[in-house]
């Protein structure tokens, strides 16, 4: 990305005229664009007023056709008749809503009352897609499916239409299949598609679940449902619905239906919390609490980090003085000076950013700080971002441009147009004293294990002691130990019934270790060529495996596609996580493709051999926000049969990454990762080695720099 960089000492008068012209054109363009920009959010397409008992946009127990506001993340707990549903719902795209649900059901029967289960803890997943937005006449129309991959306990599909009647009333009518065709059902209107569409021939419940049963979707009889919502003001919503759900597993063992009419009232407590009360099926009272937020709207979008250094006019002194002053100036912003060399009028500066999530902000601050410490005749400053000793990207700016644009209205675009943002050349020139470097940290940790079939929430809280010894650029010895202070991970007694090698399912045994060495490795990070990155790691790679791992990543500057290959030979560690090993070893490895699809969507495909020796692939799709939030899901299919895999049929999960500075506005690079993996089994299990190259390189890659460029002047 080399665009219109002004060479130092260029034709000044012409240059000035050019720039002024550019700015004036820009101003007029902006004005034309912006006089139509509203001050308040654009009146967007209508969004749902409330979540239903499944946490999806809906009425009370039934769905409706509107989505939530794009990117809304919500958590709903809904309870009635010995049944509690906890749902995590994400508006994946403006029209696509997804929900993961953990339900606790007591006193239900799958066989017409012959056997009544004391309890069933069930995991299910729903998707809804809005086919058409509401038009002048036409209602909004959506199609949805419940319990796509789970046990089928809630299995149902629907087509639903919702229409606004004025600003305060909405009416919904839907056609349901499966569980939503329990009452008042008629022959499947899709029967013309074939004889087998008339019946729904699978049993309602599959104990191991996990697979989509495409041949039941939209099959069998159908029934109508519907309702009306009235929202007299922004806080209250009153709902009347006709449900088509007969509650076949619950009625009459758990509760008795007397009516299909449900009544609901929901009250918005504040921007995040909504409380609802329901009167259901003529016999039951239900309560529901919803917490919602939107990752796109942090309270402090610019952050509360202190003001950046001002552009200076240049320092003086000998090289040693300049380096010392530069180091001090950068350290104020949490930036480590890794190297500084001078050639002609160009200063080449290598920095390590430890504070700012957006690399562009670190570069912008470093460049401005250096204008004050570097001699005035250093007209060009080339800032290289270094991660674990490897140079990733270089941003080259002119001192004169920084001075001129510091307070210009359009300075973010202007400096981007004049700067050169490129991949860094391999090799660094570290300052004397940078290596070797020893550091250590004592940090708290929280290790949750969510949605265990026996216990919804297990977690450990404790301290982690970690240390890094950087011997030379890219050469790092590091280790970590943990000690749980409180928690219940060690209370699990769920002995693995896996027929595969127990590569992950013995986690409960590993959780009992007292002072586990979670990691002790020697790693070498390097740049084999201009577009590639390399890593070799050996030692105690993770909690359960030790060995050697090597990785190569091809990720050219400016590219939105990266390709990687990784191979490892590992032996399973003893459960006490000391230096002993079990009698299992395996060669594992993958080839990977990483694709930044634009608009925040990222896809990753890994193909290869997993820890249990199974071959297959993992597909992951994440939605990432410019502020660091990530919400995504993945699944892994391997040559392990669903029967051998056990409960869940194949590995899948939902992952959320929350930047730790998002809520407070403080500048931080770290984030907390939540993985909701319904069941931890042995098929499709991947080695968890630290320092995978794509994650390491990407924050400093040219694509991240340009995506976050608006923070250059922050």
């Amino acid at each position: 990305m080399r665009r219109g960089q002004t060479p130092a000492g260029g034709n000044e008068p012409c240059d000035m005229r050019d720039r002024t012209g550019y700015r004036n054109r820009m101003r007029h363009l902006l004005l034309a664009l912006c006089l139509t920009c509203p001050a308040l959010p654009v009146q967007a397409d209508p969004v749902a007023w409330q979540a239903n008992t499944y946490g999806m946009p809906g009425l009370i127990d039934m769905p409706q056709a509107l989505p939530f506001e794009d990117a809304t993340l919500s958590f709903t707990s809904s309870h009635f008749a010995d049944q509690t549903r906890h749902s995590l719902t994400f508006q994946i795209a403006p029209r696509l809503t997804g929900s993961f649900r953990y339900s606790l059901l007591y006193g239900i029967s799958f066989d017409g009352g012959h056997y009544i289960y004391d309890y069933v803890f069930d995991r299910s997943f729903s998707l809804q897609y809005q086919i058409a937005r509401e038009g002048r006449v036409m209602p909004a129309i959506a199609v949805g499916m419940n319990d796509l991959l789970g046990t089928g306990l809630y299995a149902s599909e629907y087509l639903v239409a919702t229409r606004s009647v004025g600003d305060h009333v909405r009416a919904t009518v839907g056609l349901g299949w499966g569980r939503l065709a329990g009452v008042g059902s008629f022959d499947n209107p899709l029967g013309f598609l074939g004889d087998d569409w008339a019946t729904r021939n699978r049993s309602a419940y599959r104990i191991n679940g996990g697979q989509p049963l495409l041949d039941t979707w939209f099959h069998g009889p159908a029934a109508l449902f519907g309702g009306v919502e009235w929202r007299p003001d922004d806080d209250w919503t009153l709902t009347l619905e006709y449900s088509s759900d007969a509650y076949p597993l619950e009625d009459p063992y758990d509760f008795t239906r007397r009516s299909q009419l449900n009544f609901g009232a929901s009250y918005r407590l504040n921007d995040h919390w909504t409380l609802a009360g329901h009167y259901l099926y003529g016999s039951e009272i239900g309560v529901q609490l919803t917490w919602g937020m939107n990752p796109r709207h942090p309270r402090r979008p610019s952050g509360i980090e202190t003001a950046p250094p001002a552009v200076g006019s240049g320092g003086s002194g000998d090289t040693g003085t300049v380096i010392a002053r530069s180091r001090t100036a950068l350290a104020r912003d949490g930036i480590t000076l890794h190297g500084l060399t001078v050639s002609g009028s160009t200063a080449r500066v290598e920095i390590e950013n430890t504070r700012f999530r957006a690399s562009a902000e670190a570069v912008g601050r470093a460049a401005r700080a250096l204008t004050a410490t570097l001699p005035a005749d250093m007209q060009t400053i080339a800032v290289t971002l270094v991660e674990r000793g490897i140079p990733v990207s270089t941003v080259t700016v002119n001192r004169a441009d920084l001075a001129e644009l510091e307070y210009a209205f359009d300075n973010a675009w202007s400096i981007q147009a004049r700067a050169d943002i490129a991949g860094a050349m391999p090799g660094t020139t570290p300052l004397p004293g940078r290596y070797p470097h020893f550091s250590y940290a004592i940090t708290p940790y929280l290790a949750p294990a969510l949605f265990d079939p026996d216990n919804p929430v297990r977690a450990d809280f404790g301290v982690e002691l970690s240390a890094d010894w950087e011997i030379a650029p890219g050469l790092i010895i590091s280790g970590a130990m943990r000690h749980a202070l409180l928690g219940n991970l060690d209370e699990s007694t769920r002995v693995s019934d896996s027929v595969l090698p127990h590569v992950r399912s013995d986690a409960w045994l590993y959780d009992k270790a007292d002072w586990p060495v979670t990691r002790l490795t020697g790693a070498w990070y390097f740049r084999p060529s201009r577009n590639t990155y390399g890593r070799v790691t050996f030692g105690l790679l993770e909690r359960m495996f030790a060995g050697a791992s090597a990785e190569l990543l091809y990720y050219p500057a400016g590219s939105r596609l990266a390709l990687g290959a990784e191979i490892a030979h590992v032996v399973q560690r003893d459960h006490d996580q000391g230096f002993g090993f079990l009698d299992y070893e395996v060669t594992t490895g993958h080839v990977s493709a990483y694709w930044d699809m634009g608009r925040g969507y990222h896809a990753q495909l890994d193909l290869g051999r997993y820890l249990a020796g199974d071959w297959g692939g993992t597909f992951a799709l994440d939605r990432e926000f410019g502020n660091g939030w990530k919400v995504g899901a993945y699944f892994t299919l391997t040559d392990v049969s669903t029967a051998d895999f056990g409960e869940g049929a194949f590995d899948k999960g939902i992952r959320i990454s929350i930047p730790l500075g998002w809520s407070s506005g403080q500048p931080r690079r770290d984030s907390t990762d939540v993985l909701i993996q319904p069941i931890l089994r042995d098929g499709g299990a991947r080695l968890a080695v630290d320092g995978r190259l794509y994650d390491l390189v990407r924050p400093a890659h040219t694509s991240a720099l340009t995506d976050g460029w608006a923070r250059f002047w922050r």
Binding site: R27, L30, L31, L33, C34, L35, C37, P38, A39, L40, R296, H297, P298, R299, R300, P301, S302, G303, I304, E305, T306, A307, P308, A310, V311, A358, A403, E404, E406, Y407, A408, F409, D410, N411, A412, W413, G600, F625, G626, N627, S663, S664, G665, D707, G708, A710, R711, W713, R714
Partner: protein, 197 residues
Amino acid sequence: MIRALALLVLLAGCAAQGQSAAQIRAGLTPAQLARAPGPVLLADIPDAGLAATLQIAGTANGVETWRSAGNQTLSFRSGVLVATRGLGDDLMGADVTGTLAALRGAGQADYPRLLSYLDGEDRTLLRAMTCTMAPPVSATVPGIARSFPTVLRAETCHTTGLTVRNRYWQDQDGTMRRAEQWIGPGIGMLVTERLTD
């Protein structure tokens, strides 16, 4: 979570957190101001609960930047706000050419004021307002050591669904003695008072 964002007073003996601008002002004496190493600006952002005294940090390209003890900055072009840093929802930049012309008694009847922010996803968010400046009236700004005769101009800026009112008190040589200016939707109005020269 309520955060006390570095409400520090620079002047010796006056450091305090959580003070309102009125409290800070009441605690300042002419003698203290005279001892200050340079000009002192009192800034108040009532909606964000922020108040502080600031000292001048530097001047570049006609922009004066003032810094608080907590290292938050406010930058002005001839007293008109063009940038803030460290407030949580900063004004990243502004084009106030029209306002400056109107304050000189020149320029168009309607003129634009362009503002730029960061949205929640690290992208530039632009906002354009159309402004008009009312005719000047005389007004006195009561200072701490003495009062200042000034000319008061009120500016009304609007965009769809929003109207804000900025006011500028300038003395004879054009120095902004006092100003009330809208920073943005996130943190509202900024009231500044130049306590000493």
